[in-house]
Symmetry: C2
Subunit: 134 residues, 2 copies
DNA sequence: CTTGACCCTATAGTTGCTACAGGCTGCATA
DNA sequence: TATGCAGCCTGTAGCAACTATAGGGTCAAG
């Protein structure tokens, strides 16, 4: 299997696959006589793993960790669980942050009366803290 | 006012201020005899604006746009409003994406039985799509 | 024998900073 | 006066996680 087919199969760009190889996430495949990369089932499985984990928002470092753990079939999976839970906590934090931001912004937009810039509450609120906001 | 004081006043790192100057977001200030940057009230106001907009999650391009608009005091602020509303829509999209992700991940974690890696549902779910998920 | 799709390497760009390295300036203290 | 040290200067490289060129080589079909 050459890189283009692997790319199509995993919905990954060719450049991304080469990038994963360069950073040591995907093992180097063999080469054909014409120096083309030649992938097998193991590569497909590993890249699928990476893509799924990335889709779930794990960082490349977390993916690396999960891959290392998954290679150690006999160990307990508490470590896997804790990586996943840590990631969940990060997501919760991000959601909370975005919600707070959304509230702020929504409030600001609600005050804009669509008049002149000089009267715009949005612009005013962004300016220096001369008068208190909220 | 020299750069360190401006940095402290606006809770911005010195390097960030120089960075904003380099990308043309903050106008170049005058210099002292010793070649130190010398800021005034206008710079403070502009940097405050930038910081607030950034805190609200606007990109630097959006900030640039808002700054340009805010300089044109007589115009209608519908353009400002539309920048802000576009940003709000982006935030809503991000929140929705994160929530979907969170649901997926939570479901996955709930299935982990804390046994051996080889039985771990998290690892399994990350693997190639041999059997359907969901 | 040429076209065109595919592959190769290497390097630079993206966003929004942050962190050096190596060198001035300016003020207080011994 | 010397010297120390905080603060400033420029310029460049690094972070995540790719993406996009440039400038070539390979391979099968027509
Ligand atoms: Zn508010
Ligand atoms: Zn307005
Ligand atoms: Zn699910
Ligand atoms: Zn498990």
């Amino acid at each position: 299997m050459q890189i283009g087919e692997l790319a199509r199969t995993t919905s990954t760009k060719v450049e991304t696959i080469r990038f994963y190889e360069k950073i040591g996430l995907l093992p180097e495949p063999g080469r054909t006589a014409g120096n083309y990369r030649d992938y097998g089932a193991a590569h497909l499985a590993r890249l699928s793993f990476i893509r799924r984990a990335r889709d779930l928002g794990f960082t490349l470092d977390q993916v690396r960790e999960l891959l290392a753990l998954s290679d150690d079939r006999s160990r307990s999976c508490t470590a896997v669980d804790s990586v996943a839970r840590a990631h969940l906590a990060q997501i919760d934090q991000k959601i909370a942050d975005l919600r707070a931001l959304r509230r702020e912004l929504d409030e600001l937009i609600g005050q804009c009366s669509q008049g002149a810039i000089s009267d715009c509450r949005i612009i005013e609120a962004l300016g220096p803290p001369s008068n208190a906001r909220h």
